[in-house]
């Protein structure tokens, strides 16, 4: 493929790369077609040869973003080598870390504006590839093995997810000084939520020392 002055050669991917690099630092709202044009050395309207609109580019970003997110968050959940409780802990921490490391992308994925894309990507249908589905499956695994209380797994998944989402959102949206406390907050939240779904009569394994107390059959402290 000869490098020509006129044809760029790989514009579509470069648009996406530039856009992802951009939201690493700035909100997606600030991204303009002019910025994309300038950084690629093309004109403002060249994007329309590759995306039907600016929104279509963003929609593609969201789809790719969810793949990144799901990989990063759900991989630990699926690792059957580790104790289930540890997988929850690690995966939840990865969730927060992802939001902290990519706040603008996280907001894009879980904000209101493009909720319709999320619905497609996170739908229950693809339980094994979405992070949400992976959590639900892990919860069901815990119920079957007796580690977790029998309950509506969908409801429990949402409850845990919502708490993670809340903590992540407060951190990245600059709510008071949550960020300074987030590690302790995460541990506290994890313990509390775990205590809410865990079965009490079963001996449960974890390699995480700080969890020992709640993992022993409960006594009034």
């Amino acid at each position: 493929m000869i490098k020509s002055e006129y044809h760029h050669g790989n514009l579509k991917e470069e648009f996406l790369n530039i856009a992802f690099a951009f939201i690493q630092d700035e909100d997606i709202e600030k991204l303009t077609l002019k910025i994309l044009a300038d950084k690629t050395g093309t004109s403002r309207s060249s994007i329309y040869r590759h995306f039907s609109s600016k929104d279509a580019l963003i929609e593609t970003m969201i789809e790719k973003g969810f793949e990144q997110f799901d990989d990063f968050v759900a991989t630990a959940l699926r690792d059957r080598q580790k104790p289930l409780i540890d997988r929850f802990y690690i995966s939840g921490k990865a969730y927060i870390a992802f939001a902290k490391d990519h706040p603008n992308l996280y907001r894009l994925l879980f904000g209101k504006k493009y909720a319709y894309i999320r619905e497609e990507k996170m739908s229950i249908k693809d339980e094994d590839c979405s992070g949400f589905g992976a959590l639900k499956i892990a919860i069901e695994e815990g119920q079957k093995s007796g580690i977790l209380k029998e309950d509506d797994s969908y409801k429990q998944t949402i409850m845990i997810w919502s708490s993670l989402h809340g903590l992540a959102s407060l951190i990245i949206d600059g709510f008071m000084d949550v960020e300074a406390l987030y590690e302790t907050l995460y541990d506290d939240l994890f313990k509390t939520l775990l205590a809410g779904i865990i079965a009490t009569k079963v001996k449960i394994l974890s390699s995480l020392p700080f969890l020992e107390k709640i993992l022993q059959p409960q006594e009034t402290q």
Copy 2:
């Protein structure tokens, strides 16, 4: 005050009223100066006689919005007639209700874009008037009276707030079908969070029947 053709008379307030009415149905992003102009029968730039910019109008909305929010959410928290646990329950439910009833306003108040306004309004300084401060005070009240475990009240406040914020956000931002389940979810979340902060050896009062189980000194179930 004579009604003139040229001078409107009460434009500033009317701009705010129209803007609040607008975000009852649509996102703040969709509000334009043209809309404000048309609805008041003035020109697009008349707003600049009352606000230094469009953002300044929105900032005023946020300040007023927080007053609404704090009133709606924190009033129950301060009502010392009721048992403390019930106040938590009612106030948390009001939090969710506010978000559900005014999703665009809620997003405006707790989103990233105008976080700097929130910092002023919610600062620790005015503990008695902000909803956040009221929750913190109520938690401290619970600790002093022995109902709640001794712990860092600021940290606990954030933990509870973040869970509420997470549930509210998932509901209003269209995350799967959370809205359909939210009442059950709220009750479950409340019980779980309460179990995490409650003192176990004290007899605690509530007029809420469904809380009885966790309010009795815990036994393995």
